[in-house]
């Protein structure tokens, strides 16, 4: 049934169907932490990391639920497992590498309710990906998220010096930029078709 190569999956998740700009997932942190390039890159790293881990967990849960024939537990177990995984990862990092924890720390709890994480888990199940494909998909989605976050953070840093009308400051302006970026990303469409 599945004819996609791993490269196609990665490109599709990162560029063609960028999670932020085409699927609108993870908009909350996108609007919240995209003020400065430095925080944005850390947030992106943290999201990518959690995405890969929760994608592996989601694959495991899906296989298990399919085995016991209980598809209706899918959503509830995904969200519970992802939330607890994030907590575990947080504790683990805190213990193993305090410096990494300090740089990622505050973002980790914020990620639990990032729709992009749950989105990766749900979409990979819908698409029927295997284990390797799921991990590649999560990597691509994370990379795409980081890219979008970095781009918009860079633009917003520059815009601090621009003289825009008072009423369009803040969220409205960010959304306009996001719209234009989303149009730009449409240029990537078709990359996976050849």
């Amino acid at each position: 049934m599945n004819t996609e190569s791993l490269g196609t999956i990665f490109l599709n998740a990162a560029l063609v169907n960028n999670f932020v700009l085409a699927y609108f997932l993870g908009i909350c942190p996108f609007l919240g932490v995209s003020g400065a390039v430095k925080t944005a890159s850390k947030m992106g790293m943290a999201v990518m990391f959690v995405m890969v881990i929760s994608s592996m967990c989601a694959f495991g849960i899906h296989t298990f639920l399919a085995a016991i024939n209980a598809p209706y537990l899918q959503l509830i177990s995904y969200i519970v497992v992802i939330a607890s995984t994030v907590q575990l990862v947080e504790m683990f990092i805190k213990k193993m590498s305090p410096s990494l924890f300090r740089s990622l720390g505050i973002f980790l709890p914020l990620i639990t309710t990032n729709c992009a994480i749950l989105g990766v888990a749900l979409f990979q199940t819908n698409k029927g990906y295997g284990f390797i494909e799921s991990v590649v998909y999560a990597l691509g989605a994370g990379a795409g998220f980081t890219l979008a976050l970095l781009l918009i953070a860079g633009l917003r840093e520059q815009l601090n010096f621009a003289d825009v009308p008072q009423i369009s400051k803040g969220t409205a302006l960010t959304l306009f930029i996001a719209g234009i970026l989303s149009l730009c990303f449409m240029g990537f469409a078709g990359l996976g078709a050849q």
Partner: protein, 237 residues
């Protein structure tokens, strides 16, 4: 969110109380979810079957009833038992005299934006495709989604040549050509402005028919195309 901002140790609440709360909510959730699932299941399945049947009727004009089959990895037609995942899923359509109209075959492949899932109808007697429908696509609205609606494009699938050679292989692989350059009966006239999407349809049908059509043709030859498929499927086992 502020989930973890609170320190876990607080006086007054014992872990027994926390356990009781979580267990209580867990049981309540389980009850609600299972009852919702059980209550809606019959209707959901009926609706899904109806939607699929409608699609099969659409790609096989004149069909009154359908049966679903699969093709396994050895290229044999099998009946699908619950939980089976055959290489290809197909639906045989019969008219009101129980005569075979044709087969509807599901196929999918990479489009412009995401996977495209389609269903096409094959008439083994005439050796042509007689219908086509997009089941699922996320192609760009207004551009790529013309593959679903544009009359001129859908005309291609009224009689698309998928003849089989005497060796039992597809004579000409289906392919999409540029708009207005269709010369042979096995070519799909593409859409300007939806080049990649229409080419993707050509590729999906091309690779699917190469595999499926010879198998179906062999079948219908063996049974003269008249008897219902079910007998044949049983004798295969």
């Amino acid at each position: 969110m502020r989930t973890t901002a609170h320190t876990p140790k607080q006086e007054g609440t014992s872990s027994a109380k926390m356990l009781r709360a979580m267990l209580g909510i867990g049981i309540l959730s389980a009850f609600l979810i299972v009852s919702a699932f059980e209550l809606t299941l019959p209707r959901v399945e009926k609706l899904k079957a109806e939607a699929l049947e409608k699609a099969v009727f659409n790609v096989l004009p004149g069909t009154e009833s359908t049966r679903s089959f699969g093709i396994n990895s050895q290229g044999k037609i099998i009946e699908i038992a619950k939980g089976d995942t055959p290489e290809y899923t197909l639906y045989a359509g019969y008219d009101k005299d129980e005569k075979l109209v044709g087969y509807a075959v599901e196929a999918s492949g990479q489009g412009y934006a995401d996977l495209i899932r389609i269903l096409y109808g094959y008439n083994p007697k005439e050796q042509v495709l007689i219908g086509f429908q997009v089941l699922e696509s996320k192609e760009t609205p207004g551009l790529g989604d013309k593959i679903e609606k544009e009359e001129r494009f859908l005309e291609n699938f009224k009689a698309l040549d998928v003849r089989v050679t005497s060796e039992g292989l597809l004579r000409n692989k289906v392919i999409t050509v540029k708009q207005g350059e269709k010369q042979n009966a096995w070519e799909i006239d593409g859409i300007t402005g939806a080049t990649i999407s229409s080419r993707a349809i050509g590729n999906i049908i091309g690779s699917s028919t190469t595999e499926v059509v010879p198998v179906l043709r062999r079948h219908s030859l063996k049974m003269d195309g008249a008897k219902p498929l079910e007998k044949q499927a049983e004798s295969n086992e």
